[in-house]
């Protein structure tokens, strides 16, 4: 799908976007300006992604969330005013989201994402799913990939967070590389080292590249029973398995682990861990006993980190500039480590 570029950037845009145009260039900014994005889920992570994409200057952002604002969600995110209890979360977030950048068309949609027909998704260049069930994410990913729509998924569970991207089988992008300047070798024996006229060392060149992504379904269904997979286990971020456990919890309970039911949820989480790892042919020792302590609720700073990385991946994909992270990013807020790893066929 070719993004329509409007060739003239207004003075107002040039002034506001100046500092980012100087980083990623005018072409990238134009592509962003031509892109419509769907964002599902306006909890902590969703609000961060919304902020980042609106500030970046996309053409339009649709906020989709069917949930209502509770007292807790007021404290969890910075777009919802404290007076908005009882309102729909997307609606409540709309005003402050729009204030972030009046040049972006921000819309609120209060429907359940599961009820949306296929053609709903086709109006966007990119779709970003937070707080969604595994089945929904797999379905939407499959649909969008067929139509060359970029798909992103992300969640935060306590101190942990992840993002996944599927940019399709053939994602084209450019990378800016410096022009290699060979220093002139010259003997000068008479006097202080003479300065030589140089080619501007800051000149760069754009190199075209392509990256290929697999579907979420395939990425989640990696076979760990074969020898090769087992040997790579040591270098595999444990968060990949944590993700499976948490997605299963979400599917089974229709919600995420909640501090109010800590004991019961913790017990269930451990049970699910055992089941999930056993089904994969792996030891349940892979996720240590205390893993449950750190995956309740959404930690605001973790939302900020994951939302920042996820937001930037969306910007990169839409602007087709710079190498995308392939295909998972896992953040462990306890350790401060953030890794990019690929799960799927070679």
């Amino acid at each position: 799908k070719r993004v329509k570029e409007e060739s003239i950037i207004s003075e107002e845009e040039a002034a506001q976007y100046d500092r980012q145009i100087r980083l990623w260039g005018l072409d990238a900014q134009k592509r962003l300006r031509g892109s419509r994005v769907l964002l599902v889920g306006l909890r902590g992570l969703g609000a961060e992604v919304a902020k980042n994409l609106i500030l970046a200057g996309v053409k339009g952002l649709t906020l989709l969330d069917h949930e209502q604002v509770t007292e807790e969600s007021c404290r969890a995110q910075f777009l919802i005013p404290v007076t908005a209890q009882g309102q729909n979360r997307a609606q409540a977030s709309l005003e402050r989201a729009q204030y972030l950048n009046p040049m972006v068309e921000v819309k609120a949609d209060t429907d359940r994402v599961e009820t949306k027909p296929d053609k709903f998704f086709l109006q966007f260049e990119a779709v970003c799913l937070t707080g969604c069930s595994r089945d929904l994410m797999v379905r939407v990913d499959q649909l969008c990939a067929q139509h060359n729509i970029k798909v992103f998924c992300g969640d935060v569970f306590g101190y942990h967070g992840y993002m996944f991207s599927d940019l399709g089988q053939e994602h084209n992008y450019v990378e800016e590389k410096p022009k290699v300047v060979k220093p002139k070798t010259d003997e000068s024996n008479d006097g202080p080292e003479a300065k030589k006229p140089k080619v501007d060392p800051n000149e760069t060149t754009m190199i075209k590249k392509t990256a290929s992504f697999c579907s979420l379904k395939v990425a989640l269904e990696v076979d760990w029973t074969n020898e090769k997979a087992k040997s790579s286990l040591k270098r595999t971020p444990v968060d990949y398995f944590l993700l499976h456990v948490l997605l299963k919890f979400r599917t089974d309970k229709g919600r995420d682990p909640h501090p109010e039911s800590f004991e019961a949820d913790a017990t269930l989480l451990r049970q699910i861990r055992d089941d999930v790892l056993e089904a994969m042919g792996l030891s349940s020792e892979l996720l240590p006993h205390d893993f449950v302590s750190y995956c309740f609720s959404e930690m605001a700073p973790v939302c900020a980190v994951v939302g920042g990385v996820l937001g930037q991946e969306v910007v990169k994909a839409l602007s087709q500039r710079d190498a995308p992270h392939k295909n998972f990013f896992f953040f462990d807020g306890m350790k401060g480590s953030g890794v990019v790893d690929y799960f799927g066929p070679k």
């Binding site: 002034a15 100046d18 972030l100 900020a304 980190v305 480590s337 790893d341």
Partner: protein, 650 residues
């Protein structure tokens, strides 16, 4: 049974709502940080920022909207945060953290200080204040896609100044005046020219050909002969630009006759340079502009492409017209201000920016360099650091996570964390590294800090010692200097007026010689530094002093390797050089990202002048801030990286 409040243990959640924290800076990192702090449950937050809101901030400083442009960042940030968290207790200061009001007692009010700064001078200062108050400090920085967070705790970790940071890149006077080879040299020249014609006079910012260029001759006697010859010659074009201007009696017609001025700069001076033929033996010689011929080319039709208007590159005729126009505009601005007025260069002031664009491009053309667009020149002249919301969001998230470790009493869990643009070979995009212990001979946090400085006692002024060495180099704000001469002679007093008479005297006038020791105190920073003086008469040209042991254990990087690294990082070198040329420091250390300050626009300068109680002239302030230029960042090496296979982190 673990009691959780949200995702936090109850004890931690309780201490968050009770403690007081200080955020220094309400810009890119600051806005994100304030949001994270209140959402995490911090209740008592004080934020300080001397700056006001600019439209170019709005792409990332999300607490601000267009209607807030011109208002105080700290104030508006507070108001915006209260919108989504009315119960937060926020105090906002529109002020400089270097104001003596914010003394050690002030800092002791807080459990934690978090920097969200963009310049080294303030970072040095807060570093010292936190050491003095023994309060943990979380330091951070971003530039483009890169960022870094670290924790500083007295006695436990390195302080901000334990590792020498590379000083700003400077260019020798002869490069600027005689033999520019890169666009940046021409841009610096153009800014100097602005000051010579419209701004504050500075002997270090001469633009006319340099007859004392060391390249001209091996024989010092020859160089001297040439220098005196030009004085005797009486040819006004070889005298300093300001003197030339003065010699015309500031006759508006003569001085700012566009053609006369331009002829002088772009033709006569170039022709003079050509007579210094030694310079052009191995270099392409400059080509003087035939000013009048160019003028005859008439009005240039500007071609619009798909780029921004500012991204066009005009031709020589276009820039010569731009030069003439901007000179005229600036001349009348100066006249409007009245007698003895001066203009201050400001990248956001259109005629000032036009002037530098035009002058720099004409000089680039003369010296066979490809001319650049106003957009690119503005980046370099204005030290603009590209910046986006997401990098700041990530870094600010990491800051709060480190803060939680500190408040839980788990400071040994704290790390330095680097944000890369791409994952490293170990797949890490965020790289945590163990914190280093304090450096034993740190000139700030060691128990009895000492340094050795090489200078010429006969021609170093007391004022230069105070401003260039103690303030600029050693980061002091209000130094008091005593000579260890058995009499306790006071050389410099931080009290205004007390030792002003000493400023224009030389160090040797006070008996300071080789081996002398000076005791320097900054009482605000609670910092004492012993300075050993080494008298030296053969420092390099344009070098006023050298700190012995500046880059310990490492030889300076050869210039070509240095530039390759710069190129690889894609960052533009936009240094504002003084005339002292120092060897560029090693770049392969992992450094705190100094998202160094843009040249401020004059609107922000007013605030700076008022705050801090410093009667610094705008120009000096500019140079002062210019001394904290942005650093080039390498991909951090894995040297300190934690290896999960080896070190158990939990």
């Amino acid at each position: 049974m673990v009691q959780l409040v949200g995702s936090l243990r109850k004890e931690l959640a309780d201490s968050l709502s009770a403690c007081r924290v200080l955020v220094v800076g309400a810009g890119g990192i600051g806005c994100e940080l304030l949001k994270n702090l209140v959402l995490t449950g911090f209740k008592n937050i004080e934020v300080i920022d001397l700056d006001i809101i600019d439209v170019s901030n709005l792409n990332r400083q999300f607490l601000f909207q267009k209607k807030h442009v011109g208002k105080s960042k700290a104030q508006v940030a507070k108001e915006s945060v209260l919108q989504f968290c009315p119960t937060a207790n926020i105090t906002a200061y529109h002020d400089s953290i270097m104001n003596p009001e914010y003394n050690v007692e002030f800092f002791r009010n807080f459990m934690l200080v978090m920097n969200a700064l963009d310049n080294r001078a303030a970072r040095n200062h807060v570093n010292r204040m936190c050491l003095a108050a023994d309060i943990p400090l979380i330091e951070s920085g971003t530039a483009g896609y890169l960022g870094q967070v670290t924790v500083i705790k007295k006695g436990l970790t390195e302080c901000y100044e334990c590792q020498p940071k590379p000083t700003q890149k400077t260019f020798p006077g002869c490069t600027i005046r005689n033999t520019p080879s890169e666009p940046i040299h021409c841009i610096v020249w153009a800014k100097y020219l602005f000051n010579q014609l419209f701004g504050e006079e500075d002997a270090d910012q001469e633009v006319s050909p340099d007859t004392a260029d060391p390249e001209l001759s091996w024989n010092p006697a020859d160089t001297e002969a040439r220098a005196t010859a030009s004085d005797q010659d009486g040819d006004i074009k070889r005298v300093s630009t300001k003197d030339w201007a003065r010699s015309t009696g500031y006759d508006a017609v003569k001085l700012f006759n566009k053609d006369c001025l331009s002829e002088s700069l772009f033709k006569d001076d170039i022709q003079y340079l050509l007579t210094m033929d030694k310079l052009w033996k191995k270099r392409k010689a400059p080509l003087p502009l035939d000013w009048l011929e160019i003028q005859k080319l008439g009005k240039i039709l500007e071609v619009t492409g798909t780029g921004l208007k500012d991204q066009q590159v005009l031709g020589v005729a276009g820039y010569s017209q731009l030069f003439s126009r901007s000179v005229e505009t600036l001349r009348s601005m100066l006249a409007d201000k009245g007698d003895g007025a001066e203009l201050v260069w400001d990248k956001d002031d259109p005629p000032a920016m036009d002037f530098v664009t035009a002058a720099a491009n004409l000089r680039m053309h003369i010296f066979s360099m490809n001319m650049k667009s106003r957009f690119d020149i503005k980046s370099m002249a204005g030290n603009i650091i590209p910046a986006i919301a997401t990098t700041n969001a990530v870094i600010a998230g990491l800051i709060v996570l480190e803060a939680l470790k500190i408040l839980s009493g788990d400071v040994e869990q704290c790390r330095t964390i680097f944000l890369n643009k791409q994952p490293n070979p170990r797949k890490k995009l965020l790289v945590p590294c163990a914190l280093d212990p304090p450096s034993a001979n740190c000139y700030v946090c060691a128990s009895k800090p000492e340094v050795t400085v090489k200078l010429n006692v006969h021609n170093t002024l007391v004022l230069a010692l105070q401003d260039k060495i103690l303030k600029e180099k050693f980061g002091m704000v209000a130094p008091d200097v005593q000579i260890e001469d058995g009499k306790g002679t006071i050389l410099i007093s931080s009290e205004e007026g007390e030792t002003e008479a000493n400023n224009s005297k030389f160090l040797s006038d006070f008996g300071i010689r080789h081996g002398s020791r000076l005791q320097v105190d900054d009482f605000l920073q609670d910092y004492t530094l012993l300075v050993n003086v080494i008298h030296c008469e053969d420092l390099e040209k344009d070098v006023e002093f050298e700190v012995v042991g500046d880059a310990p254990d490492k030889a300076p990087t050869p210039p070509s390797a240095q530039e390759d690294k710069n190129v690889a990082n894609g960052n533009k070198d936009s240094a504002e050089p003084s005339t002292s040329s120092k060897a560029p420091a090693e770049q392969d250390d992992v450094l705190i990202v100094d998202s160094d300050e843009e040249e401020p626009s004059s609107s922000t300068m007013d605030v700076r002048m008022e705050s801090g109680g410093h009667k610094r002239k705008l120009h000096d302030a500019e140079t002062g801030e210019a001394s904290a230029k942005r650093q080039r960042l390498d991909q951090p090496l894995a040297a300190d990286e934690e290896d999960d296979d080896i070190i158990a982190l939990d």
